[in-house]
Symmetry: C2
Subunit: 369 residues, 2 copies
Amino acid sequence: MAAPRFLILADGDFGPMTSKTANSVIRYLPERTVGVLDRQHAGKTAQDILGFGGAIPVVGTMRDGLAFGPTAVLVGIAPQGGRLPAAWRNWLAEALDGGCDLWSGLHTFLSDDPVLAAKAQAAGRQILDLRKPPADLPVASGAAKAVEPFVVLTVGTDCNVGKMTAQLQLARELNAGGIRTRFVPTGQTGIMIEGWGIAVDAVISDFVAGAAERLVLQSAEGADVLLVEGQGSINHPGYSAVTLGLMHGSCPDGLILCHQSSREYIGDYREAAWLRIPPLREYIRLYETIGSAVHPTRVIGISLNTYDLSDEAARQACDSATRETGLPATDPVRFDAAPLLDAVRLGRQTYLNGSRGEAVSAPAVGRRG
Amino acid sequence: MAAPRFLILADGDFGPMTSKTANSVIRYLPERTVGVLDRQHAGKTAQDILGFGGAIPVVGTMRDGLAFGPTAVLVGIAPQGGRLPAAWRNWLAEALDGGCDLWSGLHTFLSDDPVLAAKAQAAGRQILDLRKPPADLPVASGAAKAVEPFVVLTVGTDCNVGKMTAQLQLARELNAGGIRTRFVPTGQTGIMIEGWGIAVDAVISDFVAGAAERLVLQSAEGADVLLVEGQGSINHPGYSAVTLGLMHGSCPDGLILCHQSSREYIGDYREAAWLRIPPLREYIRLYETIGSAVHPTRVIGISLNTYDLSDEAARQACDSATRETGLPATDPVRFDAAPLLDAVRLGRQTYLNGSRGEAVSAPAVGRRG
């Protein structure tokens, strides 16, 4: 099918810190985004609200949005309380009538809504519930350890620290440099950006690793490097199962550790001040130990999210991470991604020189220039 | 409700190494088991086939089974290929007509079968699909770390090494010794034996830890010790997600490491000779490191499954495990469970003396007499 042109539904919650899915689609697919539906900011642009996204207009009605010619309406935020608001259902029905498909990453499936399902069928449009896993997922066989490309997984000190963003940045720049690189989406936002993938957090736990394995096998052919989108954190009390299943199923040869420099506690438990984020060295030990119990792997670099720091503090954070770990560190959105690109290139070279199935050696430390 | 009396459906697969669920129910609930339906062994007894279970009769028709007065038919094996055979559907319908409930731990839910669902409703009987998770599971909050009882989780070197059996043995003997102990079921067989629980391997991965947490919270009141049934293994490529979610959600204070002494490779990958089972010391390091990243925990003893060894070799295996780890080791089914009972008692004492939230100290080594 032709690449979709999206109208993003983000009513009532469009903003730099709230609408994560909407914002990522605008950042990575601005050319495919015709507008944003949010009544409170109607008349402004994405640039006005987010600081990026240029002239993408914000509209206040579905009719105004449809006038920009979208082929799909993409749900870019989660509704409060999880249930579909009546206004949204009306808009989505109007979008189907207007010739649009629906793309949603909500836990509640739009295709289970009788009104929307009937209308989609009548109009010949598709409802894509991106979080709905395939029905036939296997238990992991270990097949991912034998694929040709160099497989890199992002792992984190917490949720929402930049594991998807780092891989998207690296994929773009590695491809630009002639290394055939595929981003492997494992969450709803990554799936929206790439148009394929499996939301592993919605998979039954017996099959999480099998889902990760299938994604690696599906994307391996003709690729030099696979960049697998990471999820959660190995010490996140709620989501560590997703993190470990993803790691053991995808059999990464290298890991990039992602961290938000200013964060002190695991975010979902911050109010209880329960789990202080340990030093990066400790995460490296945890991830390498538990990952290598199934397939040898090494952390090859550190990706920092410094969005809330001054330039000076951000540079210090990168230097400090490198001093602590002996690994290249950068914020690939704010600064140059080169240290991590070098780490992936070097890791792949070591991997090609050795035999698949042995951990790559630690890279020489690349410093920002 | 009154305790159910089970007729176990195990047609074509009743045997010591095949019908794991049927066998566990017969071992732990012989007084509630009125018979086994298996055409190939009709006329024999459970004792004839399994070496335990006494005079429990094997019958060849549902009519013969119903004559023994069951209140429920329990599906004790998984059908080849996962789909419900026509003969089984007929038997189960006959059982509903005969006044029985249905208990099943299959991945395919009996209550989704239109014929059986209609018949159950008409007959006023229940279909209990024990693997169907509650719809309202939360993301883990960490609440399990604050419960009163001493929480012990069995962890394994692989699947099917005795993690449920060890806990059932210990629960029985600790209760007999006056320590109020609850077995916490996390898999279909444990749920059948206890009549409650959640099959965590069937829970969506985002909520596995939340399911484990709920089980601990539900069973904490009035208990001195909780013995949580473990699942999978931390280095099992297919199921490690279940293992870690269960550990991080249940926040165990102590771990019992379970191993089948004669096993050399992770079982599901044995043909590929892929993953050799590392030394017990290595597992202790893995489980303590990754578990303590969320809640401090220690391995307090080793439970061995020596069913296929001679008495002499089994005793040597226990001695060897103790030498390697410095921890008490026994086969609690074959030999005396005392070394593990002592380890739990001592672990609990240390836990009571200290404050919840610190790892219990390693126990003094208890040796079999």
